[in-house]
Symmetry: C2
Subunit: 196 residues, 2 copies
C-alpha cells in the first residue's frame, strides 16, 4: 500500500457517510482530527486504571476490549475488526479510570481521535452530534446485549448466538480468545465446537 493513511481515511469516510449526511468541508474538518498509528500484536493501548483518552478506528487488524472478573478471569467484551470504532467507552465518557483494557490482537493500523478533539467536533459540527448519537445507541445496545448474555444465557446458548451473529470471531481468532469472548474455559469451547 503506497498511501496507507489515505486508504484508512477513505475507509473512515465511507463509514461516516454510511451513518450521516455531511458536507465536504465538514468531513474534511472531521478527518483532520484523526491521526494514524500502528500497534504491534499484543500491545496494550489502555490498561485498567488508566483513563481512556482516545477513540480508535481500525483500518486493518483487530482490537479487543477486555476486563478481569472477580475470580481473575479475562473476559473479552468487544472485538473491533477493520472498519469499526473501539474504545474503553465508559472511561472515555466519564473521564474516570478504566475498568477495561484495550489490546491489539494482530499487527493493527488505526486512526485515533483524542477526547478533546472528539468533543470539540460536537461543538462545531451539528452532524457530528448526530453521528455520535448513532455511535452511542449502537454501543449501548451491543454492550448491554454482551453483558446480559453472561447473566442470562448458558455457555451453549452463548456459543450458538456467536455462530449466528458473528462467525468471523470463531473463524479468525485463536480458541484462547474466543473462550474469553464467551466467558468459558478453552475445554468447554472445544467440547461445544465438537458438539455443534
Amino acid at each position: 500500500m503506497l498511501f496507507p493513511n489515505f486508504t484508512m481515511q477513505e475507509q473512515l469516510t465511507r463509514y461516516i457517510k454510511g451513518i450521516i449526511t455531511v458536507k465536504d468541508e465538514e468531513l474534511d474538518k472531521i478527518l483532520s482530527f484523526f491521526k494514524p498509528m500502528k500497534v504491534e500484536k499484543n500491545e496494550l493501548l489502555v490498561i485498567h486504571g488508566q483513563t481512556s483518552q482516545r477513540t480508535f478506528f481500525v483500518g486493518n487488524g483487530c482490537l479487543r476490549i477486555f476486563f478481569i472478573t472477580e475470580d481473575g478471569q479475562e473476559v473479552t467484551r468487544y472485538l473491533a475488526f477493520e472498519n469499526n470504532f473501539a474504545t474503553a467507552l465508559c472511561s472515555f465518557i466519564s473521564k474516570e479510570p478504566s475498568l477495561e483494557f484495550i489490546q491489539a490482537l494482530e499487527p493493527t493500523s488505526l486512526l485515533y481521535i483524542s477526547h478533546k478533539d472528539f468533543y470539540h467536533l460536537l461543538e462545531i459540527i451539528p452532524s457530528w452530534e448526530n453521528f455520535y448519537r448513532h455511535y452511542l445507541e449502537n454501543a449501548y445496545v451491543n454492550n448491554t446485549n454482551r453483558l446480559m448474555s453472561f447473566l442470562t444465557l448458558d455457555a451453549t446458548e452463548r456459543y450458538r448466538q456467536l455462530l449466528s451473529t458473528n462467525p468471523k470471531i470463531v473463524q479468525r481468532l485463536p480458541n484462547k480468545i474466543v473462550a474469553t469472548y464467551l466467558n468459558i474455559s478453552q475445554e468447554t469451547l472445544s467440547r461445544l465446537k465438537s458438539k455443534i
Copy 2:
C-alpha cells in the same frame, strides 16, 4: 396537589434545563409530547418479549427495570425514583423485543413520551439531540457499571458500593428488592446488613 400534571411538567422542565440550554418555545414543544399517566404498585409497564415504545419520566414513585437470569432469578438493573427517566432502553433504541421488564414498585405518577415523538423531537429540535446525547452517555456508563459489577465484584463489594453511591435504595425499598438489585439472596443481604 391541585395541578399534579403541571407539577410534573415543572419537574421535567427543571430536569431538562439542568442538562441543556433550550429556548422557551422549544421547551413548550418538547413538553407538549409528554403525557401524564398513573400506575399502581406492582403494575408492569413492559414485559419480556414486548417492545419498549415509551420513555418514562418519574414525577412521584419508583420504577424498576429487571431481567431474569439463566437460573431463573430476577435481577434489578435500574431503579428510577422521582425526577429520573427510565425505559427498557435497548428495546426502545432497537425496536427489538425487550429482555427486560418495567415495573412500578410504588403507586407512581409519570410523564411518558412515545418512541415516535421522541425521535420526531430529534429531527425538529437540535438541542434535543444534545439532551439525548447526555441521556445516552449516562445510560451507557450507569448500565455498564451495573452489569460489570455483577461480573467483577463480589457480594460484599457490591453492597459497600451501593451504600456509598445510592444509600436511598437500601433505606427506601424492601429487602427483597434490594437483594435483586445486588443479585444476591435475601439471606446474604441480611448477613451483610448485620456485618457492615
